[in-house]
Amino acid sequence: MYRYNEFDRDFLAERNRQFRAQVERRIDGSLTEEEFKPLRLMNGLYLQLHAYMLRVAIPYGTLNSAQMRQLAYLAERWDKGYGHFTTRQNIQYNWPRLSDVPDMLDALAEVGLHAIQTSGNTIRNVTADHFAGAAADEVADPRPVAELIRQWSTDHPEFQFMPRKFKFAITGAPNDRAVTAAHDIGLRIVERGGEIGYTVLVGGGLGRTPMIGKVLAEFIPAEDLLPYLEATVAVWNAIGRRDNKFKARIKILVHEVGLDALRAEVEEEFTLRKPLYAGGRDVALLEEIAGHFAPPEFETTPTETYDAAYASDPVFRSWADTNLAPHRADGYAIVTVSLKKQGDTPGDATADQMRVMADLAERYAHDELRISHEQNVILPHVHKRHLPAIHAALKAAGLATANIGLVSDIIACPGMDYCALATARSIPVAQQIATRFDELKLEHEIGPLKIKISGCINACGHHHVGHIGILGLDRAGVENYQITLGGDGTEDAVIGTRTGPGFAYDEIVGAVETILKTYLSLREDPSETFLQTCRRLGIAPFKAALYPEAKTRAA
């Protein structure tokens, strides 16, 4: 795993010292909120509806057991005993007191973690596939390139005052689990004739103007990657719009200038910048970084304990069928620990649960944990012989829910239960949908399904790319929920289509039930997923079921 060096540690300690002094000056009144707000946001501290919120970064979603235990300690010592894992691969604490935050940051620094939000109109933390380095379908581990981009972009003098923020995501596998098509630049590692290269997507993003990224370049070889990315960001930085913050992201430039014209500009810029990279230092650095992400030594031992439990224990089998993913090494599996027990808050874990996961990682899983953007925790490298013991420990901690990728594995942003920007609640909608389908015992019958819920148009819950997307709005002083269908955040990314008028808070669960019962009645056979049915038939039959009165009026 990548370790922070001396320089990073000193930098963190200095930042924490500064922030402690700033907090003191805020509390004694010598700093106003206007002066303090940008300082606290730079350190991950937000003010929400009921309290402060501290957001801690988890780069590439990768943690070791000591770091996870420290997150548990923070939850217990300074919060209400739990933390919330988010779609940005970070953890949020919802109840810190202002005066405690400097101590929390110092405690994080002890394990190399921080809350520096890299805010502002800069290049943000690079996100990567949460199965990176473990997935069977992977061409190459995307994290070294993510780290290379982080180092190249951090304090890059040309890119500190851009039209707007800029986000990268990268996947090393053809099955895109990093939602690369919804980022300013998405990178996909590909192999061509034995050579590793990168497909570059540009102009994706959700929020108020959702757009799917388009292919700017099919194949950029490793030695051209940084100059090519630099050229792309530079072109946008020079001609992107600065007059209107809602039109400033690169997706708008792609839309207004056109992909081909943008590509021509980028290529021209690239030929100018390429000579500056002639020494090959970036390629050497990438190789050095890759050393930090070297895979653990995989063991080759029999998997009998797993095979026996799988054959004899139906609860274990059901969990194994939904929560395990294929690992690149023989005899290994990737375990997804569900933080989506039906009725609980999606993405929340108690301090005790965090410790259980940390212990399991240390004991059985090469000391590695990941946080997925789908708000679950992953043990990326587990030899199958340990799975029965892991399952038993998870079960005892309320963490063995067998629902990954199913109707109750819902992404929900904090919504109006916490977020000051929200226009409606999202967490209780997720809780009620999950509970409802658990009661109906339809979860496994329905099969693969991604429901994603946001509490306002900022789209933190990725609702546009949910198979069923739910957007909570304020319509004349009451909560109202719009539904989109057929969205997809993978390599075939699509923005969902709106069904029509929204539903009230007490109607939305029923509406989802109507959609899914319609699907069950229309699918060709149980192997046809909800998304496939949606693609085959379009949204018309779902609309008809959702709005029967519209049909009778038209008739």
Binding site: L47, Q48, N94, L98, S99, D417, R425, I427, D474, G477
Partner: protein
């Protein structure tokens, strides 16, 4: 014609713990909505908001929120303000258990 002024309370978050607070008629900050000063005059509302904004060492983000008279004192109108009097709906945390 300008729209009629609807009654308001001055609300904010407390600097130290971020909890929701309301300005009272006798210039305190209460954690209870019902103790807020219900302001029915627009000019007075502007003055009271300025009073609140000056207290930089106590309050953050003061604003005027719609309210109406109730049996025990002012009540919130909008659902966002109702949630702010209670706390989150997914846990028994915040005002709903602390007050």
């Amino acid at each position: 014609m300008p729209r009629d002024f609807t009654p308001k309370v001055v609300t904010a978050n407390h600097l130290l713990d971020g909890d929701v607070i309301y300005q009272t008629a006798d210039d305190r900050w209460s954690r209870h909505h019902a103790e807020a000063e219900l302001i029915t005059d627009e000019a007075h509302a502007t003055i009271r908001l300025l009073d609140a904004e000056r207290q930089v060492d106590t309050v953050v983000g003061a604003y005027l929120a719609d309210a109406r008279p109730g049996t025990h004192g002012p009540e919130p109108v909008h659902f966002r303000e109702v949630f702010r009097t209670r706390g989150p709906s997914n846990y028994a945390h915040g005002k709903q258990v602390e007050l």
